[in-house]
Amino acid sequence: MSEGYEILALDEAERVAHRDSTLIPVRYLLGFRPAGVNAWYADTGDQLMPPHTEDSGNEELYVVVQGRATFTVGEETKDAAAGTLVFVPAEVFRSAVAAEDGTIVFVVGGTVGQAFNAGGWEEFTLAEAYRHAGRIDDGRAVMERMVAEKPDYWAAAYNAGCWESMAGNPDAAFAHLRRAKELNAEEAAPYFREDTDLDNVRDDPRFQELLG
């Protein structure tokens, strides 16, 4: 193997719980940048991707890789065997349920006319799962990578600050939290006031600067 490529087996890759679904965070695991790519895993009767509607301009292609799935798109419901592709345009409701154990659906998504820009929901989902599992260092690592990849995204800086707070690293926490305030003081303000992730640093004299 060389550094220029990677191999990943979907049925062996890391899985993470996300809103009653089980995500295989393919884009995050591989660092693929041109489009959103992920996969969903489910056993019989369980939900594949969370039921949702995409915003205007967002197109998604679902591909049944293994097992069998029952898709609902708009008002219509259809059975999809392995090897089936389902295209769903923007602003149309879609959901899918596994009809066999071990079903995996791969999904590709993007916005027409726009460069793909990962919103980072996979990172937040992973970090949340690590928090529940008590894997503080893994959660910190996810947020550190996100800050490095998206240095101008306030929510990345803010959440990296939360993780450093929880891990008991106030200096690192304040560095990230100040950056979050610099990037988007308005959106960050209510979180500074109320987020319990910051309880470890709330009594630090530096915290007042964030509230001001």
Binding site: Y5, L61, A80, T84
Partner: protein, 207 residues
Amino acid sequence: MNLAHIDELDAIELADGFVWRPVRRHFGIQAFGTNAYTPGASGRIVEEHTEDRLGHEELYLVLRGRVRFTVDGNEHELGPGQLVFVRDPALRRGAVAVTDDAAVLAVGGKPGEPHEISAWEYVFLAVPDLQAGRHGEAKRLLEEGLEAKPGNPAILYNLACVEALSGEREAALEHLGTAVAAEDRFRAAAQDDEDFASIRDDPRFPR
């Protein structure tokens, strides 16, 4: 519901022996580039190539069967649900089917840029008509490509091929000349290309 099984998609066998399943085109997807491939007579399933020219990152997912990928000289035999992500556009990659039922989905694009339909889609699309001698139809598809990608040298080159085959000497020379002026690799390609037999003796033919 806009749904299709991979076996229901068009099957366009290309010169290298692999069969292109035009996923993006079938569904009219505009936001990202995606296609599927099945093996042709030669057993090849992914063309051996680099992405140097387009700078694309590519992700290949085996949907069915077994496939032997060669990436940067290393071989990997993969089965359903296994992915190869080729981050480096310079790496040579390709694959042959180990089982006849193999199918591969590819997703690719240039990081940081909106998706643009690649010129090769139009060129590949014209191949069945070209092979069957339906020159008018092949020409129509290539002209459609030129409308989407004005001045694209690969499309111009292939249009010149069709024109030379259908005896349109002036148009063929003009389009070939423009393709060679834009990308010199087409000069070498034209020397051995049998499609140009009818115009090779012309003094204006690029040497």
